[in-house]
Symmetry: C2
Subunit: 175 residues, 2 copies
């Protein structure tokens, strides 16, 4: 299946000059969504993670489906102030300023193998912070899985350089 043609490009969003890759057109296509989860679950069925961690908010859709398909638990990694219980947090740099992601301190047990899932990797700032957060709780990053890679922004390389395996399904390069 050509997944790339299932993804809509919205020019100038969220700001002028950005070509936004809109995954909602893939999600609403039952065959395309099913295919994505099948491809990823095939990859992990012989070496299952203990939990799938998904990054808010689109990572919840793919991560939730994949966790269910693999029979794993699911851990939400959320933006600041969204989780009700005690959290561990990690700050990361944005273009201007910083942001914070959080996870419940008891969401992952030491030694658990964690598959990190999000829809897209751009600069990799959020994903790298999520990896550090998972490791703070004693989890081991098995792999980071993304549907879309924007290689020009270097996120995949950043994660690989930090020692985290990465898989992506679709690339949008220099477009």
């Amino acid at each position: 299946m050509n997944l790339k043609e299932k993804i809509r490009t919205v020019p100038d969003w969220p700001k002028k000059g950005v070509m936004f890759r809109d995954i909602t057109t893939l999600l609403q296509d039952s065959k395309a969504f099913h295919h994505v989860i099948e491809v990823l679950s095939e990859r992990y069925k012989s070496r299952k993670p203990d939990v799938v961690a998904g990054i808010e908010a689109r990572g919840f859709i793919f991560g939730g489906a994949l966790a269910h398909e693999l029979g794993c638990g699911f851990v939400p990694i959320r933006k600041k102030g969204k989780l009700p219980y005690k959290t561990s947090r990690e700050e990361y740099a944005l273009e201007y300023g910083t942001d914070v992601i959080e996870v419940h301190i008891d969401a992952i047990r030491p030694g658990q193998r964690v598959l990190l899932v999000d829809d897209l990797i751009a600069t990799g700032g959020t994903a790298l912070a999520a990896c550090k957060l998972i490791e703070k709780l004693g989890g081991k990053i098995m792999e980071c899985a993304f549907i879309i890679d924007l290689p020009d922004l270097g996120g995949r390389k950043k994660l690989l350089d930090a020692g985290y395996p990465v898989v992506t399904l679709v690339e949008f390069e220099g477009e």
Copy 2:
């Protein structure tokens, strides 16, 4: 399975006096999460929806998993300003003021049967707005499915009174 005991109660969150029902403890329990999706998919496998619509953000986790299990497409219903393409929007009342949810105008085709999913129904304001939004696009609400019902807050009744079927799995009453 006793799902209720898988849900953690966090007192005084997000504000004094509220007993917050925290579903993350259920999600991270692989058997409990799997059980929830199995129960719901059993319910719909003989009368499948065309799409599952999930409400941001926890509705994405359950809705994504359920859409995959049923082989349906998934439609995200999001908070204001999060969707990149043209949207239809619906305003709804909060305790103080109003809020807005949005959906892409081409997310649902006229006549499609839509299963609405969220983790919890409280006053039902967001869910009712989501139903209206789906109908604006020509979708037909097949049912609204929630894991947790807080019957004291009347949301279930509000949806039923408006003609929308509702299913919930766990109740927290007067606690």
